[in-house]
């Protein structure tokens, strides 16, 4: 027989006071938990590749264009320091780029802990020449910064650049963890990534000094490739898309001046080299601020390659309007000393 008697809910022995107290405690616990969660939620928490992240971008460090002066200078000669000076003079002199009171960041290529003669890194004489020019122009401070993937101290010491920095009282900035900030840009592949940013917090002018080198993966390490050294993290993962990432550097940074050191060129077994027989004396320095044009020139005329079509990053950057791979179209001044 069906039981039709209604179910009687058990009455609680809880008093009104007890209920109020428990309700307040529950509410407080929930409130604290929510407040704690909100506090701990790191809006700027950065995980590469995941979601939209905040970050910074670099301003342009270029000077106003001057149509009366050359866009690109090529200097030839035997003495590296003199040739670099001649190249800068051909562009109108260092005062076109550096004024009194400027804080200049110089970005050499110090990727490896190798001696200068092997030409895997920026030559000490090249750094000396540019740093002296900046000092002569009245720069308030000259910063040297790079993020070698190997031991920075060892790289700066063995490359001879630390000695230059000490001799000229330049400010060396090592890539300590706190010196990085998240970069945000709309590159082909580079969008959010840790950038060695501290030097840019002080500098209002940026000069890159790149040795011209053979490169195992991208065929030529020239001016654009030099900026790879500003990235942090496990940046080797970009090697899968090396031409894309290098072309992104032309978007990431517009330096004040670039120096492409082709005095002694690492022609093979790059980017590390290891033998003097890998090096050829080309006695040439290229200066300007169009990295695409400089790389195009350097690949053919310094590395002596006839397959510019292989240098993918030059074409990518050119197609995106980040420079002109047809360097012949630029206003060029060539000097020999």
């Amino acid at each position: 027989m069906k039981n039709t008697e209604p179910i009687k809910m058990e009455t609680s022995d809880m008093t009104r006071r007890q209920f109020m107290r428990q309700a307040v405690m529950t509410g407080t616990t929930l409130g604290v938990a929510l407040a704690g969660g909100a506090y701990l939620w790191e809006r700027k928490h950065f995980v590469p590749g995941f979601g939209e992240r905040e970050g910074l971008s670099l301003p342009s460090f270029r000077v106003e264009p001057n149509t009366a002066l050359p866009d690109l200078a090529v200097a030839h000669g035997a003495d590296r320091k003199q040739v670099i000076r001649a190249a800068v003079d051909a562009l109108g002199g260092i005062n076109r780029y550096i004024q009194k009171g400027d804080v200049v960041m110089i970005k050499p290529n110090v990727a490896f802990d190798r001696p200068p003669a092997l030409c895997a890194t920026t030559h000490p004489d090249a750094l000396t020449a540019i740093a002296e020019l900046c000092i002569e122009a009245g720069a308030k401070k000259v910063i040297i910064a790079d993020n070698p993937i190997n031991s920075p101290t060892s790289c700066f010491l063995k490359s001879g650049l630390e000695a230059v920095a000490n001799n000229l009282s330049l400010s060396m900035q090592y890539p300590e963890s706190s010196a990085f900030q998240s970069l945000k840009m709309e590159g082909e592949i580079l969008r959010h990534w840790p950038l060695f940013h501290r030097p840019f917090e002080q500098a209002n002018k940026v000069i890159g000094i790149s040795p011209a080198k053979d490169h195992n993966l991208c065929y030529g390490s020239l001016t654009m490739k030099n900026w790879y050294g500003l990235l942090g993290g496990r940046r080797n993962q970009f090697h899968q898309h090396i031409h894309s990432i290098i072309s992104d550097f032309a978007l990431m940074i517009q330096p004040t001046l670039m120096i492409l050191d082709g005095m002694s060129v690492l022609m093979k077994n790059g980017p590390t080299g290891g033998r003097l027989s890998d090096v050829a004396e080309m006695n040439t320095v290229v200066a300007g601020d169009d990295m695409v044009a400089m790389d195009s020139y350097g690949y053919v005329n310094l590395l002596g390659r006839d397959n510019l079509d292989q240098l993918g990053y030059v074409h990518k950057a050119h197609d995106r309007g980040l420079g002109n791979k047809n360097w012949q179209e630029l206003k060029l001044k060539e000097v020999t000393i």
Partner: protein, 394 residues
């Protein structure tokens, strides 16, 4: 428990419990405590989280500031690598150790021994790493030393351990300095202007001097010799014996791992230059392993030369087929013999190339006087003689 009026037989629990067991209270407290601890942990972790964690170890950086200890974030600490065993013995007969000691007098370590495995090799040589990984790189052991005899100078020692002697020879020969001078303390090695490079067993060793002066190179050589003596000798799997030694130009032996001469079936190819009476020839050989594989590779060779070159002659020599082709003025004399494929490539002298190949296959003795390479050597348009060829002409 009260009776369940809707489902008689099933007893209902009281909804509100009047008392909670002390164990349950303890457990609840413990869980709450755990949540608090986890919360604190997340907070602390979040505070110290740094996306650049893998860029560099700042502690290591500071500690190396004055001493130049080579430390990157993921370098395996000295003596802790478990990837492979020790690579170098401190003394003859001693067990191999992970630490690379000063192998000669007057050397002082600049820092710890560093070890890099395939996942971290890029930290040391960055964009060069793929070239080594292609030859099955296993581990790099490296250390830098200062010299008592040359203040301010240093020597960097790199021991790249590959999986086999063949692959060690492969990367060694790929990076070879053709102008280097052969050294006598190892089978495969040379002295470059600023260092010593050699293959010993499955190790490819580089001893790099900071300067080309005798003050640095002389002790560097002593180190290189002592290190070579401590490394095990192992030439197993090497096929350099496929090539004749007579007339072979010193320091010209090369190993091509794959895709030799643009042909997919040409792999594990040994190649060397030969100075035959002043004319330099490039001769290669490979052991295909089986006659079937050799036949397949031979078909690929013939197909390529038929399509892209001008095959001028075919026939048999030494019991196997051969072809002579003209590739825009460069002569190729190629053969198959059992499982072996070989020949002279890109030669300026057709007759000499044929004679050289024929001698290898028939055992005939060549008798050319030692002579410096002529200006009309390899790659030049020397006169081509067809004398002596009586085989089928195309």
């Amino acid at each position: 428990m009260k009776a369940n009026l809707r489902f008689p037989g099933i007893r209902l629990r009281k909804v509100a419990r009047e008392e909670i067991p002390s164990f349950e209270q303890f457990l609840g407290g413990l869980i709450l405590l755990l949540i608090v601890v986890i919360g604190i942990g997340i907070y602390v972790k979040g505070k110290i989280y740094d996306p650049h964690t893998y860029a560099l170890d700042p502690a290591a950086l500071e500690s190396t500031r004055s001493e130049v200890l080579g430390k990157a974030a993921t370098v395996v600490a000295e003596g802790t690598s478990e990837r492979i065993g020790g690579v170098v013995a401190a003394a003859a007969g001693a067990a191999p150790v992970k630490v690379l000691p000063p192998m000669a007098d007057g050397f002082n370590p600049m820092g710890d021994t560093e070890h890099y495995v395939p996942d971290t090799l890029f930290e040391k040589i960055n964009g060069r790493a793929p070239a080594y990984l292609a030859f099955n790189f296993q581990e790099l052991t490296t250390r830098s030393f200062t010299l008592d005899s040359a203040a301010g100078q240093f020597v960097d020692v790199f021991i790249f351990s590959m999986d086999t002697p063949k692959n060690a020879f492969g990367i060694f020969s790929m990076e070879r300095d053709g102008s280097g001078a052969t050294v006598d303390f190892v089978t495969d090695g040379y002295r470059s202007e600023m260092g010593f490079f050699y293959r010993q067993g499955n190790a490819y060793v580089q001893v790099l001097a900071s300067d080309s002066s005798a003050a640095v190179m002389t002790p560097a050589e002593a180190f290189a010799k002592a290190l070579a003596a401590s490394l095990p000798v192992d030439d197993s799997g090497l096929g350099a014996s496929l090539l004749p030694t007579k007339y072979q130009v010193a320091n010209s032996l090369n190993f091509i791992q794959s895709n030799a001469y643009g042909l997919s079936l040409m792999k594990d190819v040994y190649e060397a230059k030969y100075n035959v009476g002043g004319t330099v020839l490039t001769y290669f050989a490979m052991d295909a392993g089986s006659e079937a594989d050799a036949a397949a590779a031979w078909e690929e060779i013939k197909g390529y030369h038929t399509k892209y070159a001008d095959v001028q002659q075919t026939g048999d020599v030494g019991g196997g087929p051969f072809i002579v082709s003209d590739n825009f003025g460069d002569w190729n004399v190629l053969f198959m013999n059992g499982t072996i494929l070989g020949g002279v490539v890109d030669s300026s002298d057709r007759a000499l190339s044929y004679e050289f190949v024929e001698a290898q296959l028939t055992g005939a003795e060549l008798d050319y006087a030692e002579q410096a390479p002529s200006a009309a050597g390899e790659g030049t348009d020397a006169a081509v003689s067809e004398e002596g060829f009586d085989d089928e002409e195309y």
